[in-house]
Amino acid sequence: MSAIRSCLIVALVFALGSLARNTLPASQDPQRRPGTQSAAPPIVGDPDKGRDLFQANCSGCHGIDAGGGDGPDIQQAPASLGDATVANIIRRGVPDTPMVGFFSIGDAGAADIVAYIRKLGSTMSSETTKGDPRKGEEIYNSSGCPACHMIAGQGGEIGPELTSIGAKRGPSNLHQRLIDPGVNLPKEGNVGDRGKWTLYLLYRAVTNDGHVTEGIRMGEDSFSIVLKDVNGNFHALYKPNLRSLEKEPLKSLMPSFKDTLSSAEMDDLVAYLVSLKGATP
């Protein structure tokens, strides 16, 4: 998978790319940036009707849970693109991709499907949070998080960008990652028939001359792999030159905050992260 990292983006690109070349009704806000909500009022659809339509028309490519199959993961599509946009993609398709237009479904049907996808995608973010975001921000800064994570253009480049993490992950999910970062690492969107691939997965590579490189997988194919080490340096390795190449599952470059943060502090930090729903600058 070349550029595991970019698959998510690519998936998004498919959608957005089409917008640039495909015309949509004037209800859309052209200046929209990812993460922000569409200016158009969400079309009111019936998720239950949508479920049947989805399984009939969409699940074959996008998976029965919209988590991706032959086509990309679209669980977050309504959240990141806006309902009207997704509805339009359903009806008009995405040029130059296998996503054909399901014009026969009609506006109502498309709205129903969008409603269903929203339901699928928003299972987590419907939760509520206790804790104080402002306190959480202080904890975030004092605990060294910015060294690895970037928010709105500020911070490090080792871990995932958190600018709009609140729009993507729910509180319990974030909480769990702070406790046990190595468990269920984020996954890329499912592109093609490849299943989802784990992001930030640690690898340990030993070259034939014994040189050891440990780092996060940034890109991999059957013959080469690119790792990013803890200093953020890229190492491009040719597999035939490697004595061994091992995944280090459950391991992460991120420390656990189980023992370093009180449960109150944890709630505050989670509350802060959940509040991060902004667009990238």
Binding site: S18, R21, N22, T23, P95, D96
Partner: protein, 281 residues
Amino acid sequence: MSAIRSLAVATLILVLCGLPHSLLAASPNGKQQAGPGAQADLDVGRQAYVANCSRCHGLYATGGDGPNIQRAPITLGNDGVIKIIKNGVPGTMMTAFNLDDTQIGAIIAYIRSLGRRNEPPMPTRGDKVKGQTVYDGNGCAGCHTIDGQGGSLGPELTQIGSLRQPDMLRQTLLDPGNALPTTAPNRDRGKWVLYTIFRAVQRDGKVVEGMRVSESTFAIVLEDAKSNFHSLSKANLRSLEKEPRKTYMPSFKDTLSAAQLDDIVAYLSSLRDLSDTRNAQ
């Protein structure tokens, strides 16, 4: 230029592929719609056209950076052209123009006025039925294809009546080498002469003479009189010369009577099948 022969085709393909298919569907009813043709409109249309379209499609819509669109209103229908002007063509240089409907209507009227200029009148003299026997009796079918029947050395004539003026057809019959057909102006390359005969002398002295069907800076493919392709690397050639005005088609100046000439021109002019060949089946 790779595939010189297919340039015309290619231009067409550009249009067809580029268009949302909906526009293609408009073709049948397209013929019925007549654009507003008042002279005043035409002036407005020319202004608007020159300002917005001529840079890519040429002042007379015969193409330039973009394809030849003289026949677009006829083959796509007014609605088709309106959609294209308003929405652009996804994935091509044809972007959307926010012009008001009167402007667009005037532009289409102008294009139609150009198109008409190319709509050949039916010849007054000659009997197309007799003409067909002349066509069959003089071996034309040995080199030309009509509705899937005939040879492949010369241009297909299935639609020749709508592409060429009667007097031009007559000219070609009398002096085939003069005014060979050209491609539509393509991108920034201008038109290219089709069916140009080249004489290539290889280093070993072997001579290949044939029509250019494909040429690049380093290679050329010639089709000889027996319709065999010869793929030549220019590095292996001692000389490569155009033979302007030469053609594989004989002149019928002395072989056909004036009456016969009128008849065959009438026959050729009657070949105006614009429908997709296969849908005719």
